[in-house]
């Protein structure tokens, strides 16, 4: 069955696919943390472009916007935690590079063998007029449980992130058995439990 994508679209998908993999490889090749972050962003934007070609407008826009912000935040953390933000000297910080490369290559080969040997069930199916509407109706209808679980997961993330970000917890203030009458704060006058 012939694809209903135009020749130009197929060409764009292939070019964007190559770009995304090239960006992914560049992340671990370039010497600067900032460059690595933006190489990852290029990879994400290329994937968003492919999603756009597949009529998944909403998911493509969400991917592009979310990843742009995420990489901007990541660049800040990279520069905070890494010693070589500007890439002024060569930088390789790897352990077990050979084993990792073999694992990555074997995974790729196994997946590719599967991809090119499976007889994919491509049939003439009804395409929805609006993929975003289809997703929205699924989220609020048949697939609401997925969104409920995602909501709980995100809420747990907020709580866990706050707990980890707090420098001093209740055990620092009230002792290991939480029995202290007054909290041991650097500046006295803190609230009791």
């Amino acid at each position: 069955m012939l694809t209903d994508l135009s020749g130009w679209t197929v060409a764009a998908v292939v070019v964007l696919g190559v770009l995304s993999v090239a960006g992914g490889i560049a992340v671990f090749v370039v010497d600067s943390m900032a460059r690595a972050t933006f190489a990852l962003l290029a990879s994400f934007l290329a994937v968003a472009g492919v999603l756009l070609a597949f009529d998944l407008v909403y998911l493509a826009v969400v991917t592009a916007l979310m990843m742009t912000i995420e990489m901007a935040i990541m660049a800040v953390f990279m520069i905070m935690f890494m010693m070589n933000p500007a890439g002024l000297m060569p930088m390789t910080m790897v352990h077990n590079a050979r084993g990792s490369a073999v694992t990555g290559a074997v995974t790729f080969v196994v997946l590719v063998v599967g991809i090119w040997t499976v007889d994919w069930p491509i049939g003439r199916t009804e395409r929805p007029e609006d993929s975003t509407r289809q997703l929205g109706e699924a989220i609020m209808g048949s697939h609401m449980l997925v969104m409920l679980v995602i909501g709980i997961g995100l809420f747990a993330t907020i709580l866990a992130g706050t707990v980890l970000a707090t420098a001093r917890g209740r055990y620092d203030r009230f002792g290991a058995d939480l029995a202290a009458k007054r909290p041991d704060d650097p500046i006295p006058g803190g609230l009791p439990r």
């Binding site: 694809t3 994508l5 197929v10 998908v13 696919g17 190559v18 995304s20 993999v21 992914g24 992340v27 671990f28 943390m33 690595a36 972050t37 990852l40 994400f44 994937v47 492919v50 999603l51 597949f54 998944l56 998911l59 991917t63 979310m66 995420e70 953390f77 990279m78 935690f81 890494m82 910080m93 352990h95 077990n96 084993g99 990792s100 490369a101 990555g104 290559a105 995974t107 790729f108 997946l111 991809i115 090119w116 994919w120 491509i122 009804e126 395409r127 929805p128 993929s131 289809q134 997703l135 109706e137 699924a138 048949s142 697939h143 997925v146 997961g153 993330t157 866990a160 980890l164 970000a165």
Partner: protein, 105 residues
């Protein structure tokens, strides 16, 4: 060009992203770079999910939901990853995975 061929090409690209990401997650010493490797793996999942929806089952929203879940996993991974990185750095100035070997068997 047949639809199956385009699907196979896109899935091969996704497999490439997953392979590169796995290499990065396993080989990098910096905690932040490990997270970048994991993000690349999830990037491959996004691409494969989108292709699966378009070519295999556009009448069902399931593949789109998979992409949404992968996006959420990315956000959670990054939030918790940075929280753990900041917490362990604050506690004992660890910013490399090789320095955090307390649980090594």
């Amino acid at each position: 060009m047949t639809a199956e061929l385009v699907l196979q090409i896109v899935l091969t690209v996704a497999a490439g992203l997953i392979g590169v990401g796995l290499f990065g997650a396993l080989s990098q010493q910096s905690i932040v770079m490990v997270m970048m490797g994991l993000e690349l793996v999830l990037n491959g999942v996004l691409l494969a999910g989108g292709a699966a929806w378009y070519f295999l089952a556009p009448e069902l929203p399931d593949a789109q939901m998979l992409v949404v879940v992968a996006l959420v996993v990315m956000a959670v991974e990054m939030a918790m990853g940075f929280a753990v990185t900041v917490a362990i750095y604050r506690a004992r100035q660890v910013d490399m995975v090789d320095m955090a070997t307390d649980l090594r068997g």
